[in-house]
Point group: C2
Chain length 324, copies 2
């Protein structure tokens, strides 16, 4: 298994990515990461993996066309080499828009896929259980047929990741009742109901984390609002918690008693443990790591890439869409 | 000033509402609440305010037509009496869908208003500052022209509540850049940009609570996802915090040191202090209190109703839309 790694993208430069590759290689000696980036910066990886010199760095706000024009960029070269040499996966922490659209343009979508979707897993209040949400932002708008495909792709992804036989699939709506929702939701509901095994109905945004749903289907705009809205309030509450404990000697003393609980809590809420988001519907495993990934987070992104290849998620998507 | 109060709606029956009316009357002896509900249950209010017997209770999932057919329900009678006798406001903690659509059908929208919008204020990380968000769920879908009207109505509401001269208005989108967004967002952006004073551009869901925006405009579906998504994760984190402190004697001891900070935090996050949401665009002040309102929360809803009447928010909306 070979994984193309954009070693330059991301807010923190190549350092955490080099570290992540080292750790990943220790855990999975059989997998071959290939690092793309400034050769001299990646020197220390030379005994561990193949290095491809790609000295340019794609700016954070770059679009697809810019990326494709930057043939010597680590991001572009990672994707195009993956295609040319038939690698299994590509991972980048660089510009989301640029990476996703360049990957789509170069690798192409799986035959029959109308639109690709960005998928990620949210923590829930049930310990260890996650809910797979898609699309969280690859699209600005979607049709009902596209949402039905998202349900199929989400199921293949969920089964690859969690090996659950009959995941429960819900549709994000503004009310739980069958008749509630935007015209798009109503149309999608009608298509999924009685036709999609495991479809359980509509779900309000407030119930997404209650552990009931395994998969939540949303259009890219609403899914993005959900993801980022939750991220925003979680961040605000976390900094309020920290400030509470830092106030004075007594509150610091108080922290000593509860730190284990709060550490568990921030681990649960930590997006870094999910290792980024996958772009589903593309010919190949495409993983977008978080822009500010540290070594731990990026290693998780590499691990997810490996699992997706192991579980042949691309083939599963191909199959489930051909039966549709 | 007279305010029609549905004293039976809400998950907790008439008890907290009776208590709220008593407290409200103490704070504002000049305002006249009129209580609608089962006469025998409201007996103790007889020395404080007028009571109108309306023995039926609208079920939580009732729609507009059901409410209107239930002529002897506290909700329906409150709205229709408001119309007949020219009251200034109506407040209910009953079925959202039923209340909003019955109020719209009976009281009618302000001339020129295309769609009414549900507005509420979110806490931000800047102490004491709130951000006004609309529509949070009155509509299943909206046009760009409707969103422009929401911006006008939101401004009138914000000025009535916070007396700020030039509130900063943003549009909820999946990216902060001008070209980002759904087709609806792009169209609305073009209409607001350079035409709407104080329009600052697009805002991602993760930045809504950072204190930068005074007003956030969204279509009813996305606004609802934002509101309920935040509510869901805030609830989950709060219960994790509580569980952390309740673990054993040591963690309880820890809590003693930080309880003041955490109390402040839960007050900041407490939706009860906002007193519910207002339906903007209707002829008259229509306030939807939370279904599970306690006396404190319902009193805040009554206070918001009073402030909206004091500040003539309906006239302000009428004016701002006539200049449009």
């Amino acid at each position: 298994m070979r994984i193309a790694v954009d070693a330059m993208g991301g807010d923190n430069g190549s350092k955490p990515i080099i570290e992540a590759i080292k750790q990943f290689k220790k855990d999975y000696p059989d997998v071959e990461p290939v690092a793309f980036g400034k050769k001299e910066e990646l020197e220390e990886l030379s005994s561990i993996c193949r290095i491809v010199d790609a000295p340019d760095v794609v700016p954070m706000e770059a679009g697809a066309l810019e990326v494709i024009r930057m043939k010597n960029s680590s991001m572009c070269k990672a994707i195009s080499t993956m295609k040319e040499e038939g690698f299994d996966a590509v991972v980048s922490a660089g510009s989301t828009g640029g990476f996703l659209s360049a990957a789509t343009l170069i690798l192409k979508t799986i035959p029959g896929v109308k639109r690709s979707a960005l998928v990620t897993a949210f923590p829930t209040k049930i310990k260890g259980k996650k809910v797979v949400v898609l699309d969280v932002g690859a699209n600005n708008e979607n049709s009902a047929e596209e949402l039905v495909q998202f349900a199929h792709m989400g199921k293949a992804y969920h089964q690859a990741l969690f090996k659950l036989d009959n995941p429960k699939t819900y549709l994000l709506s503004n009310g739980a009742e069958a008749h509630k929702g935007s015209p798009l939701v109503k149309e999608t509901y009608a298509l999924l109901n009685n036709h999609f095994p495991g479809f359980m109905g509509n779900m309000e945004a407030r119930d997404v984390l209650n552990g009931e749903a395994d998969i939540l289907v949303a259009d890219g705009f609403s899914g993005n609002v959900l993801l980022k809205g939750m991220e925003g309030i979680a961040k605000m509450m976390s900094s309020m918690i920290k400030a509470n404990f830092k106030k004075n000697l007594w509150t610091k003393l108080g922290y000593l008693h509860v730190r284990k609980g709060f550490k568990n809590m921030s681990e649960t809420m930590d997006y870094k443990s999910t290792g980024g988001a996958m772009l589903l519907g593309i010919n190949g495993v495409v993983i977008k790591a978080h822009g500010n990934s540290d070594a731990y987070s990026f290693k998780n992104a590499l691990r997810v890439a490996k699992e997706m290849v192991d579980d042949q998620v691309i083939n599963k998507i191909r199959e489930s869409l051909s039966h549709e």
